[in-house]
């Protein structure tokens, strides 16, 4: 199994989710994260104190998928989350040794 980790623009979350469910992805886990990268942050000013906030809010999707479907899914995420503007984000793929569904205890691809 593969873990597909995608860091995307928050506005894109809903679109990506729709695309993925159309691809038969039934589950995923989402985390609000702060991203550092090429994309500019903003500055804040409070009376005499001014400072640059150089992170930008992003959401991280973690989706465990079968080896077979990994490619299709990363492509789908890339295509859906793309705006062409700096800050669109990244997709990382790594390997998962095992997956267990807590409710039933079952393991393997069936879990996903």
């Amino acid at each position: 199994m593969k873990l597909v980790t995608a860091i995307i623009q928050p506005e894109k979350l809903d679109d990506v989710r729709d695309t993925l469910s159309r691809l038969g992805v039934t589950g995923m886990t989402v985390t609000e994260v702060k991203g550092f990268g090429h994309q500019q942050g903003h500055t804040e000013k409070y009376r005499s104190a001014e400072f640059a906030v150089d992170f930008v809010p992003k959401v991280k999707l973690e989706i465990v998928v079968t080896d077979a479907s990994a490619g299709r899914i990363t492509d789908a995420i890339r295509d859906t989350a793309q705006t062409g503007r700096i800050g669109d984000g990244k997709v990382f793929v790594s390997s998962i040794d095992e997956a267990i569904r807590i409710r039933t205890g079952e393991t393997g691809d069936g879990v996903l």
């Binding site: 804040e44 000013k45 409070y46 009376r47 005499s48 104190a49 400072f51 906030v53």
Partner: protein
């Protein structure tokens, strides 16, 4: 006021003469129910300024891990000052000091002699002392902004008990209680010197003795919620009408004009700060307009019973601009860590107001008029301010140093945040 007091008893006589009805049938001798209603309301408003007003204004400006600590300080100060006042404070500030009257008052121990029937002017004395108490509460509470995020709660309590006793009560007596400054003709309608210059000076001295917050100014320390701060500023604004218009002690034209000029000055100061900030920094800010409003409220305070709309506009414009500079570039340059700019807003704003009162109280500018012209009044105003600065600064330094040597002023480590460190509580669990 005095003559007014006779009015009702006069009715008594009239009634008696005409219908043989005993004067005792009347409401309390010399008490005007309308004036009393307004002073009761004003007392509510001024307490409202401190809790929740000021405590929200300050709470929003600190980091989330210290949000409760500043609110706790304002609340505890309210309680401590109330007891101190009840036991001896009212006496020291407004009692008759006899031979020492110029310098300090006496008596009224435990308010034992302030009965239901005691009258002061056209209101019950119970109401008069209550109104004055609310001023004794907010003045030390203002100082909280200077030492926020790093002072020990126990040290804070001791400091405040000593400070109101040794600094606030005497100064209040000098100006309002029959003391020497008032007698000389210093004009301070609602507390430009007694409240704001006094608190602002103490704030500056205390934050210097205390030292900067760990990481200041390098680390960003963003306000946890400007929503709370703007709500607090709004409450300060509405509550301030009790502060200034209540200081008329009657519900009439003086109160009306005081409320009007307070409102005008505040609006003008808020807009001036916004404008200057917009020009200098490129954007108008919520914290800027709110701070400007407070600066305007502070500056009009000593003037509110003496000036007209024109004076209010100038005082507002001046205070908004000057305080913007004081809390901005000046503070930055000097490098002291007055966390929430108590000195830059209250100290400086109070000074601007005290001085301009000497100008705009003149009939020339639609004020109530000055006995000896602007020139001599200005020197009197300066004297009042200077005396307050020197006395408050000196005493604050001594009290702070003594406490630092004995029980210690600072928490050992600011990183954890005072809410957990001092109170085992968290401000938000969302």
């Amino acid at each position: 006021m005095r003559l007014f007091r006779n009015q009702r008893s006069l009715y008594g006589i009239v009634a008696f003469v005409l219908l043989g009805m005993p004067a005792t049938a009347w409401a309390q001798e010399g008490v005007d129910s309308g004036d009393t209603a307004w002073l009761l309301t004003s007392s509510v408003l001024v307490l409202f300024m401190t809790i929740p007003g000021l405590s929200l204004f300050y709470a929003g400006l600190v980091r989330a891990k210290n949000v409760l600590s500043v609110m706790m300080q304002c609340f505890a100060i309210t309680c401590v000052v109330t007891i101190v006042w009840t036991v001896y404070g009212y006496g020291l500030a407004f009692g008759d000091g006899g031979r020492l009257q110029a310098f300090i008052g006496m008596g009224h121990f435990l308010l034992l002699d302030v009965g239901v029937d005691a009258v002061s002017g056209t209101v019950p004395e119970t109401v008069y002392q209550m109104f004055q108490l609310t001023f004794a509460i907010i003045t030390p509470a203002l100082i909280v902004g200077a030492f926020a995020e790093r002072m020990k709660f126990s040290a804070m309590l001791s400091f405040m008990a000593l400070w109101v006793t040794l600094v606030y009560f005497p100064v209040a007596h000098w100006v309002w209680g029959g003391g020497w400054l008032g007698a000389m003709g210093v004009l301070d309608f609602a507390g430009g010197s007694v409240v704001h210059i006094n608190a602002g000076t103490a704030a500056l001295v205390l934050c210097i003795v205390l030292g900067r917050r760990k990481g200041y100014p390098a680390t960003p320390m963003p306000p946890n919620s400007l929503v709370l701060t703007l709500v607090g500023a709004s409450m300060l604004w509405v509550g301030w009408f009790g502060f200034n218009a209540g200081s008329a002690l009657t519900a009439g034209g003086v109160a009306g004009m005081a409320m009007a000029v307070t409102h005008i000055s505040t609006a003008m100061a808020a807009l001036s700060w916004m404008a200057v900030e917009w020009l200098n920094d490129g954007k108008p800010s919520v914290l800027g307009i709110a701070t400007g409003a407070v600066a305007g409220l502070v500056a009009i305070t000593p003037a509110s019973g003496y000036v007209g709309p024109v004076g209010a506009i100038v005082i507002g414009a001046a205070s908004g601009t000057v305080c913007y500079i004081a809390a901005g570039s000046v503070k930055k340059a000097l490098g002291y860590d007055d966390s929430l700019d108590v000195f830059g807003v209250h100290g400086v704003g109070g000074f601007v107001g005290a001085m301009l009162t000497g100008v705009f109280a003149s009939e020339l500018f639609g004020g109530v008029g000055l006995d000896n012209g602007i020139g001599s009044q200005l020197s009197l105003q300066f004297l009042g301010a200077a005396v307050t600065i020197v006395y408050s600064g000196g005493l604050t330094f001594i009290i702070a140093k003594v406490l630092d040597r004995t029980i210690g002023l600072r928490v050992t480590d600011d990183d954890q945040g005072l809410d957990i460190a001092l109170h085992d509580e968290r401000g938000f669990s969302l």
